[in-house]
Amino acid sequence: MTLWDMLVQLAVANVLAFGNGTVMAAVLQNTFVQQAHVLTNEQLLYAFALARVTPGQANLYVASIAYMMFGLPGAALSMVVIALPSYLMIPLLRSYEFVRGNRAVRGLTRGLASTAVGLLLATTWSLSKDSLNAPVTWMVLALALTLLVFTRLPTLVSLLLATGAGVGLILTIDATNGGGAFLQSVAALGST
């Protein structure tokens, strides 16, 4: 995949998803991970979560995955591609009265969003088959879900608490296994 190919794919996904970063994730996972194999599920997950816990737009994770694939030029150009359709605002403002009365446009965005939710849950499902490969990963998932759904903690705090608990558990298991065998225990957990 060339830099140009990546930019075209990003542009298409962005327009299809109406710029919603969450919605776009399903398309990008299919394009870059499943079809082209230029990105791993872990990389995509890292990027996605990163954009959720940093300030700014949620679709900035596109810069992160573009960097992983094509370095700084890729990341910078990806932002141009993502921002460009926004300029449709200018003609849209001029034809405001027409669009306002057009219910089909509203129906279109609702249809897109509902389809996207289904796609995204399906993507989550296929991502989970890769990520949930050891008991500790299930524990971290359960803890993170609990914190995100039932507490009002910021996403970053929930994410760090769950991750921290996982790291703590791994270190504890390591210590009880006779100490010093940190790498070994990690490898064992990974292969469970």
């Binding site: 919605v23 300030p55 700014g56 700084l72 129906g107 509902s114 289904g118 796609l119 929930s158």
Partner: protein, 187 residues
């Protein structure tokens, strides 16, 4: 749209969107800050006009926050204004995101990455799942929307259909069938 409200200089636009770019809460949080600054603090735009811009921004096939930024930049300082606001809004978070991605790339092949895959990734997965459900809760009552979502999920998981095509189909079905169920005013 003519307006009796105050003008905003390029420099002020730049500083304002720098602040917005560093706001948390993605599009929703950022547009709330923009509204607070423009409508209440500076009284540079009426609430009704702002909500119109916001509604229109949701119809543009790009992030609604970038579309809103273009609209505001253009309104006060023309095309140059749009470039200034986009740069100010995107650059800080861009640097942060790329910086943290570089850090991740540097960890490749180290034990730390193995631990991270076992701990951070499941937590990140939870973030993805929760944002999918939150997006859904905006749309879901037992309805055609729910049917679309389920059909899309089955289409991609069981039938292996292309997500882009499903998205397009969902949008078209929505445009044809969901039109009368939509509320009159934009959100």
């Amino acid at each position: 749209m003519p307006s009796p409200h105050a003008a905003i200089s390029l420099r002020t636009l730049f500083l304002l969107f720098l602040k917005i770019g560093l706001s948390f809460g993605a599009g929703t949080g950022m547009s709330a800050v923009l509204q607070e600054e423009l409508v209440r603090k500076r009284q540079a735009i009426g609430r009704g006009e702002f909500m119109t811009l916001y509604g229109l921004a949701r119809l543009v096939p790009s992030g609604s926050m970038t579309a809103l930024a273009v609209a505001v930049g253009y309104r006060y300082q023309g095309l140059l204004g749009t470039l200034v606001v986009l740069l100010a809004m995107i650059l800080p978070a861009f640097i942060l995101t790329v910086g943290l991605t570089v850090a991740y790339t540097l960890l490749a092949g180290s034990p730390a990455l193995v631990v991270m895959n076992l701990t951070l990734m499941p937590a990140a997965l939870a973030v993805v799942a929760v944002s999918a459900f939150r997006l859904g809760s905006e749309f879901f009552t037992p309805s055609l929307e729910l049917v679309l979502a389920i059909a899309a999920g089955v289409g991609v998981l069981v039938l292996g259909l292309n997500p882009s095509l499903l998205l397009l189909a969902g949008g078209l079905v929505g445009a044809c069938v969901l039109r009368d169920r939509s509320p009159e005013d934009g959100r």
